[in-house]
């Protein structure tokens, strides 16, 4: 955009001529006496219209009132008598007395409150002025304490859980050390890159040879070490379905049993122990399996 002359110098249309005509109006000269008036006015302290002050204060007060109206905090609800708890979806619980809750499944979050007693299928939890989570699953009750102190009772056993601690009840049975000895098996697919070993083993497990048995066993071991318990169990169960009398079936049965115990799937573990006793009557580890089965039956 370049500079251009004013319309008054280039007026062509009627509208432009109007502008030129208005621009040609000379300013009215100022009265020489106005300078003296100005100097006299400058000598006075400037004043403000006092009538504006109440109007201004009124406007400020109205503004403050509006702000207070909208920013007034919501009244704090009075404390509710009884327990204060939060239950997740699908939690099954009932309150049997002002301070007692029966929790059969799901998770409850207890807000810091007075005396509270929670009854689960596995234990009784007692607390006072504590904040904690209690969760019931099929294999037990877990407890995570965030504030205060919580007492868990089961039969004659009493455990005290403090803030920052957690507990799962009943505890997993101790697995005999002999059952944890992994048999030396020739490593398969060991040359495959780390991310491709699983697919290599899965590919090897397709045929019906001895290699397939070893591949399925190793696949389960790989999944268990990676923390994928479900997939490890699936691999070994598949192995037992396909090769119930295979050369590796005792090792597969033991690995499955141990993994089920670690995953707190006690009922399935007990069945797996029973299957082992039937299928491997002459196995030297049968006694340890019997011991573990006895512990599992107590859960």
């Amino acid at each position: 955009m370049t500079n251009f002359p004013p319309l008054s110098k280039t007026a062509a249309t009627e509208a432009e001529q109007l502008v030129a005509r208005a621009a040609s109006v000379p300013p009215r000269p100022v009265d020489p006496a106005s300078w003296d008036e100005l100097v006299a006015r400058a000598a006075m302290r400037p004043t403000r219209d006092a009538r504006l002050i109440p109007a201004f204060m009124l406007a400020v007060a109205a503004g403050v009132g509006v702000v207070m109206l909208f920013s007034r905090p919501a009244p704090i609800p009075p404390a509710q008598p009884g327990l204060q708890l939060v239950a997740t979806a699908a939690t099954k619980w009932t309150q049997t007395s002002p301070s007692t809750v029966v929790l059969s499944a799901g998770r409850l979050s207890m807000v810091r409150a007075g005396e509270v007693r929670i009854e689960t299928p596995h234990a009784v939890i007692e607390a006072h002025q504590s904040r904690f989570l209690a969760e019931v699953i099929s294999s037990g009750t877990s407890l995570v304490v965030e504030e205060g102190e919580v007492v868990l009772r089961s039969g004659s056993v009493t455990r005290t859980v403090r803030a920052g601690e957690s507990l799962v009840w009943p505890p997993s049975p101790e697995i005999p050390a002999r059952l944890l000895d992994t048999p030396p098996v020739e490593e398969r697919c060991s040359t495959s890159p780390a991310g491709e070993r699983r697919s290599c083993l899965e590919a090897e497990a397709v045929n019906g040879s001895l290699d397939a048995q070893a591949a399925l066993y190793e696949l389960g071991v790989l999944e268990a070490k990676s923390g994928r318990s479900e997939r490890a169990v699936e691999a070994w169960q598949q192995s037992l379905r396909r090769f119930p009398e295979g050369v590796l079936h005792p090792e597969v049965r033991l690995a499955l049993l141990v993994e089920l115990v670690r995953a707190r799937r006690f009922t399935e573990a007990e069945n797996a122990a029973q299957d082992f006793e039937k299928a491997c009557a002459d196995d030297p580890r049968r006694a340890e399996v019997g011991t573990l089965k006895a512990l599992l039956s107590g859960h």
């Binding site: 502008v19 005509r21 009215r28």
Partner: protein, 209 residues
């Protein structure tokens, strides 16, 4: 003979005993006579400009307020390159502020709106008065920045550089604004002429005074 500084000048004048002035701002010798010279050189056109920018307000009052500001900030007058553009800059701010204050006063019922807005009454002819009236009407629909740019350049005859200094914007911005504003003003004037011709039954040529 050494010229009196503005401060000394004030002390010598009884009018200024107890005067409320920001004397700390004086960093150069500025005499009251210098300010008087500036006043008589530019007061008339500044009053005309403020009458065009704020037609509902008293232009004489605005002019006095403008020069009260100058008297209270004498140091700034000596520091600017173009006193004319600087004065126009103050005039623009003053007109805007006073228009806003007047609206507030009317809102609180402290002031009644002037039913007949006054245009600087220096028109010399009927044609000029009619042109003033039409331009004032056309300027009503413009935004403040466009109105200020148009008035300063087209009506008051400031150069592009002076308008830029008065508005505190780059000169390029002034030309861009002017380009757009010209179109809007001329279109508004054309509409006025057309509407008047239709309602009067005359041709556009016939309605010219």
């Amino acid at each position: 003979m050494r010229a009196h500084t503005f401060r000394e000048d004030l002390h010598e004048r009884r009018h200024f005993e107890g005067v409320y002035l920001a004397l700390d701002a004086v960093d150069r010798a500025v005499t009251l006579d210098e300010i008087k010279g500036v006043y008589f050189a530019h007061a008339a056109e500044l009053r005309q400009a403020m009458a065009r920018l704020a037609p509902e307000l008293d232009a004489d009052d605005l002019l006095q307020e403008l020069f009260l500001i100058v008297l209270r900030n004498p140091g700034q007058l000596s520091a600017v390159d173009s006193p004319r553009a600087w004065l126009y800059g103050i005039a623009l701010k003053l007109a805007t502020t006073r228009r806003r204050t007047a609206r507030a006063r009317r809102f609180f019922g402290l002031e009644v709106a002037d039913a007949t807005p006054s245009i600087d009454s220096s028109s010399r002819s009927l044609e000029q008065r009619d042109a003033q009236r039409r331009i004032a009407k056309a300027l009503e629909s413009l935004s403040a920045t466009k109105r200020e740019t148009f008035v300063l350049f087209e009506l008051q005859g400031l150069s592009g550089a002076e308008v830029a200094q008065a508005l505190g914007v780059p000169e390029k911005t002034v030309w861009t604004r002017l380009h757009q504003t010209r179109k809007e003003v001329l279109a508004a004037l054309e509409r006025q002429l057309l509407v008047e011709a239709r309602t009067s039954g005359l041709t556009r040529g016939e309605i010219q005074p």
